[in-house]
């Protein structure tokens, strides 16, 4: 009898162990990473969201009841948000916005870069690392429904957030999302059906590294998580890994 009880106890224990290991539980210290094409971002007790002509600030200290604190009016055409080193970077149809977070409840505009006309109007994510911002702009009809006449990767030096300086321009074929590691910048190039790779170890002198480019169909956005890379495409996503020398290796695809 005792042994039967033991077995029952044991099996209950195994069952519950199995159950808890399959439970979905977030580690609150484990910060998530967003793709570059998004209009939502959080920082501490605050969440920032974009309307086409507004940056909105919410207090989420009580997550069950967010409170809209402020709305900062901008020109029409805000598309993507990226927070880095207590600044907010916005990709917009008209160019790049940089905002300060000295008062996180009410971000203040530091600069608004007007792009030259040939780069006007596209769905343009921006990512920032160190003193440099990397932004893609493109030509064809995209998810934002607009077009510009040229496609490119634009590199800005942003150490003075009130005066960002365009330092380099690389022509690209319909670029979308982008992400980086310490050494490399990866750009989803939908037009040329590949991940385009740039060496950003010296950001003042960004270099193309065509030998590292990786072919992929319709890449749309990308998340880099240490040596793991996830690329969303039009209708699936692909998991890749990056080895020590920066070469990209295929892991698996999840599709329809």
């Amino acid at each position: 009898m005792k042994s039967i009880l033991q077995i029952i106890c044991l099996s209950l224990f195994i069952l519950s162990a199995c159950e808890s290991s399959s439970d979905f539980a977030f580690d609150s210290n484990n910060n998530g990473v967003s793709g570059s094409i998004t209009r939502f971002a959080t920082l501490g007790d605050f969440m920032y969201t974009l309307n086409p002509n507004q940056l909105q600030t919410f207090d989420i200290s009580n997550p069950e009841q967010p409170v809209l604190l402020s709305e900062l009016e901008t020109d029409y055409g805000l598309e993507t948000i990226f927070i880095y080193d207590s600044r907010i970077y916005l990709g917009a149809k008209t160019g790049l916005y940089i905002l300060g977070l000295d008062n996180p409840a009410q971000p203040n505009l530091l600069s608004q870069t007007e792009r030259s006309e040939e780069f006007f109007g596209a769905c343009d994510p921006v990512v920032v690392k160190g003193n440099y911002a990397y932004s893609t702009v493109k030509t064809i009809v995209n998810i934002c429904g607009t077009i510009s006449t040229q496609s490119a990767l634009l590199v800005y030096e942003v150490s003075d957030p009130e005066n960002p300086v365009l330092t380099q321009t690389f022509g690209l074929n319909n670029p979308n999302g982008l992400a980086y590691t310490d050494e490399y910048l990866y750009v989803c190039c939908t037009g040329s059906e590949e991940l385009r790779v740039f060496d950003i170890s010296d950001p003042a002198n960004v270099l193309e590294t065509p030998e590292l480019n990786y072919p992929i169909e319709d890449p749309f956005d990308i998340i880099v998580d240490e040596d793991r890379m996830i690329v969303s495409t039009l209708d699936d996503f692909v998991i890749l890994s990056i080895d020590e020398i920066g070469a990209i290796e295929y892991v698996k695809t999840i599709d329809k």
Binding site: D23, F24, A25, F26, D27, S28, N30, N31, G32, V33, S34, G35, I37, T38, R39, F40, A41, T42, M47, T49, N51, P52, N53, Q56, F58, I60, P63, E64, Q65, P66, L68, V141, N142, I143, C144, G145, T146, I147, F220, D221, I223, D225, I230, S232, T233, L234, D235, D236, F237, I239, V251, K252, I254, D255, K256
Partner: protein, 176 residues
């Protein structure tokens, strides 16, 4: 008799309206029309069995959990820790959603004009915890599309998609 007269007069009135409209010349031909969802159905948020991806959208990774928007329908959730197995966990239905983020156990997303907060601590039984109304300006035109479409009539609800149809006398068009 009176009702017939009334019908005729309404008919004439409608005809005259039409006549007025044709002076502006709307577009007739193939185009897009909005698919509406009544606003009352926006609260139908919850966990469902995994679904196939139709068109991917914004993405988010937290630990080994990968989230991907299905435009205007919901969010796919995958466990990507295993390189060999396909691990589609669940689909979080959020009508009219286009973008989101996650903080702690809470997922924040747009739901037409509203911000919704969803407790995802149990991913298989997510719970809508709050809705803040009328903070977002949704797209009132079909995206990834260049051409004429039937203008959105918000009194019919939230736009959860667009379908191709023969249009008659429409005045809206995406401008590129």
């Amino acid at each position: 008799m009176r009702s017939i007269l009334l019908t005729i007069s309404i008919f004439t009135f409608v005809l005259s309206l039409n006549a007025c409209k044709t002076e502006h010349i709307g577009y007739s031909g193939l185009g897009k029309v909005p698919i509406y969802l009544p606003l009352a159905a926006l609260d139908d948020i919850g966990s469902q069995a995994p679904q196939a991806v139709e068109q991917s959208g914004p993405i988010y990774l937290i630990g080994d959990f990968f989230f991907m928007i299905e435009n205007r329908k919901g969010i796919h959730v995958y466990d990507i820790s295993d390189d060999e197995q396909e691990n589609s966990l669940v689909f979080i239905k959020i009508p009219a959603v286009t973008d989101f983020t996650i903080d702690g156990n809470f997922l924040y997303a747009d739901s037409w004009r509203d911000l919704v907060t969803i407790d995802i601590s149990d991913i298989y039984n997510v719970v809508l915890v709050s809705r803040i109304e009328d903070v977002f300006d949704p797209f009132l035109y079909p995206q990834l599309y260049n051409g004429p479409f039937e203008c959105v009539d918000e009194s019919q609800g939230a736009v959860v998609g667009w379908e191709n149809q023969e249009l008659e006398n429409v005045y809206c068009r995406t401008i590129n």
